[in-house]
């Protein structure tokens, strides 16, 4: 086992020292992804702004002001919509969230520290946990800003304090004497020049009374299958395949080099079995392919706004694709006798496979006849699996088909390659 690992590490070390191999597996695919991604209409800087739709179901002055504020916030790209439109946009993935200001929002926002706070309903896709948290935080922040605004405009706020006070006295006379006293003093305070000079937030208020300036209720809308968010969603899966291409060329060559350079003799006279030698070399190829796929993906995620819909499915897709191409490496290596032979046979076999498989022309823009033809290429199934996990929102069941095909390719090419290597 340790000898198998030693072979794998040796091959990986050699790989990292072959400059051309590094270029074609790491740099070149990224160039392809970025150039074509930009051409296909990738946004250069993926917007950190959340696209949302704002629905004002209240229509009062208070809700209008709140909606207006949302529309102008830097954190959002917000549009106004009806409830139906907003939910549809979320379902289609055009908007991350629908923010709905419920009826009664205006009245509730007149009340301070007591009564029902104004209510906001937020509809998002349940998978978008990070965006949900961020949205909720931003909404609560905006709710709290209302309190600050009060102190920024003492004269205007005095009226709402008085309203709150009178409502409180009318509904719950004498039940919250502390709050009554506070609001009375606040009323007085807002009339003073001190308040006009501007003060910070009322620190004591929140801690004495369990009352929030805003309630946010989270609702789920299942997002439907959509198109890619931008060009990079399409070109990065392709780039992962081009990176694999580089690995296929490099590692199929290492098999042949061992034979040509005579080092295979050394491996064969050692106590290692033939299968152990093949296992070691295959392991190196597997690890390399896996790592370069992850590398390309990581660049896409970190800098180009690629947002995989499902990480577990993507991992499965990457693993299956890696296995398939290790088999292809073995088969390719068994076809050529010399390094030169690999240099010729490799591209000759791989290029058509890549071209019809959608590594060059994206599957989504292929004419129907070509899409059908592409099914004979393992490259297509790898891309389908990657895209399925990145933006096609595949379910586990949908992911089974491409992954099973990739594993079948792996098994067939591996078996054939091993048999031919034995000869």
């Amino acid at each position: 086992m340790s000898a198998v690992l030693a072979i794998a590490l040796k091959d990986l070390r050699t790989f990292t020292r072959t400059r051309s191999a590094l270029f074609f597996t790491f740099i070149w695919p990224l160039c392809v992804a970025v150039i074509f991604g930009t051409l296909f209409g990738g946004s250069n800087q993926p917007s950190p702004k959340l696209p949302i739709a704002v629905v004002d179901e209240d229509g009062s002055a208070g809700s209008r002001a709140f909606a207006e504020r949302l529309l102008t916030r830097d954190s959002f790209v917000a549009v106004r919509a009806t409830r139906a439109e907003a939910l549809e946009a979320v379902r289609k993935g055009q908007r991350t969230a629908a923010v709905i200001l419920r009826p009664g929002f205006g009245v509730a926002s007149q009340q301070l520290f007591a009564g029902t706070p104004p209510e906001v309903q937020v509809y998002t896709d349940p998978s978008r946990q990070a965006e949900r948290g961020m949205l909720e935080g931003l909404l609560l922040q905006q709710g709290a800003e209302r309190m600050q605004a009060m102190f920024a405009n003492p004269a205007g706020s005095q009226q709402s304090v008085r309203d709150s006070l009178s409502q409180l006295r009318a509904r719950q006379p004498g039940q919250q004497p502390g709050l009554e006293a506070f609001l009375g003093q606040l009323d007085t305070f807002l009339g003073t020049p001190d308040a006009r000079a501007g003060l910070g937030t009322p620190g004591a208020a929140g801690s004495t009374v369990a009352w929030q300036p805003l309630t946010v209720t989270m609702e789920s809308v299942q997002r439907q299958r959509t198109g890619p968010r931008n060009g990079y969603d399409v070109t990065f899966p392709q780039a992962m395949l081009w990176a694999i291409f580089g690995c296929v060329m490099t590692f199929s060559t290492t098999f042949v080099s061992e034979r040509v350079r005579g080092t295979l003799l050394r491996l064969q006279v050692s106590p290692l079995s033939r299968s152990a030698i093949l296992a070691g070399k295959s392991l190196a190829a597997l690890l390399a392919i896996f790592l370069v796929e992850c590398f390309v993906l990581a660049v896409g995620v970190a800098f180009f706004g690629v947002r995989p819909g499902s990480w577990p499915l993507l991992l499965a897709a990457i693993a299956c694709a890696s296995a398939a191409f290790v088999g292809i490496i073995l088969l390719l290596a068994s076809l050529a006798r010399t390094e030169h032979g690999i240099g010729g046979a490799g591209p000759a076999v791989m290029m058509p496979m890549f071209l019809i498989g959608g590594a060059m022309i994206p599957l989504m823009v292929m004419p129907p006849w070509m899409v059908q033809l592409s099914s004979i290429s393992p490259v297509k199934w790898a891309i389908v699996a990657f895209e399925g996990a990145i933006w096609r929102d595949f379910s586990v069941v949908e992911m089974v088909t491409p992954c099973a095909i990739l594993l079948a390719v792996a098994a067939a090419t591996f078996a054939l390659g091993v048999r031919r290597q034995r000869e």
Partner: protein, 281 residues
């Protein structure tokens, strides 16, 4: 230690090894001396199990077939073609080959150290092999075969392209191996190497062992008589004789001998008398 019995190996219609039998004794250095294409490398590859003979058997000591895992552990081969990784350093190459034999940790470090010292590559150990001279690569090629301390070492023309000084160093290390009780099979087409190093020499041509004996034994049996070369009265004379002194006396009685020398028989003559061709053809 190694017994080859009636080995036949064909490449297509060409017979590379032709009914060859050979027994290597434990602790000896056995030379395989023959011209290009004689079948030395093929014989070695059959002996270590890299090639399957078309017929005949190979036995490695008590381990039987060379492909048995136990037999592989006692075998070390330095192939004729350099078999090291260019992109790795000498250190990394040797560590890797050691790991193939299950060496690890301090034991591996010690063996790598020993092997580097043996072939005099300590100061270049951290350089990548692609920057080595041909002779340095060849020395590393030998070191890689010895790393796991094999009982039976097969060196296939290990000194091709090595300068005289390094060659001497390699000879010294091979002699050291014999002193340590290792068995060595050494192929070459240089007679001088066979004479200097080998306890016994097998003369190989066209895939057959033509003769197998100590160098003295071979010379006695196949070398013919020494040749007396003299210059007598301005005339070059060469006389093949078992008794050059008597011949010289006889010559000096007839005319003054201006100069003379006695050429003792060489393995070249042995080869000539066995094959009718010279070794260097």
């Amino acid at each position: 230690m190694l017994t080859l019995t009636n080995i036949v190996k064909r490449y297509g219609s060409r017979v590379a090894v032709d009914d060859l039998s050979l027994a290597v004794h434990p602790g000896e250095i056995l030379g395989l001396l023959g011209p290009n294409g004689a079948g030395k490398s093929t014989t070695m590859h059959v002996a270590v199990g890299l090639l399957r003979a078309d017929s005949g058997t190979v036995t490695i000591g008590e381990h039987g077939s060379p492909t048995a895992p136990a037999a592989r552990r006692v075998l070390g081969l330095a192939p004729q073609s350099l078999a090291v990784y260019d992109l790795l350093t000498a250190d990394e190459n040797l560590r890797f080959f050691g790991e193939l034999y299950g060496l690890a940790g301090a034991a591996l470090r010690a063996r790598v150290e020993w092997a580097l010292t043996l072939v005099g590559l300590q100061d270049r150990r951290r350089d990548r092999v692609q920057g080595y001279s041909g002779g340095m690569k060849r020395r590393l090629n030998i070191a890689a075969a010895l790393l796991h301390d094999p009982q039976l070492v097969l060196l296939d023309e290990p000194t091709v392209g090595v300068d005289p000084q390094s060659r001497n160093a390699i000879f010294d290390s091979i002699v050291q191996l014999r002193q340590a009780g290792r068995t060595v099979v050494y192929s070459t087409h240089y007679m001088e190497e066979a004479v200097r190093l080998c306890d016994r020499v097998a003369i190989i041509d066209a895939g057959k062992v033509l003769a197998l004996d100590t160098v003295d034994g071979l010379l006695r049996a196949h070398g013919g008589s020494p040749v007396l070369r003299a210059r007598v009265a301005g005339e070059e004379i060469a006389i093949e004789t078992r008794d050059p002194l008597t011949e010289l006396n006889r010559l000096s009685a007839t005319a003054p001998v201006e100069s003379f020398r006695v050429d003792a028989p060489t393995l070249e003559q042995v080869f000539l008398s066995l094959t009718g061709r010279t070794l260097r053809d």
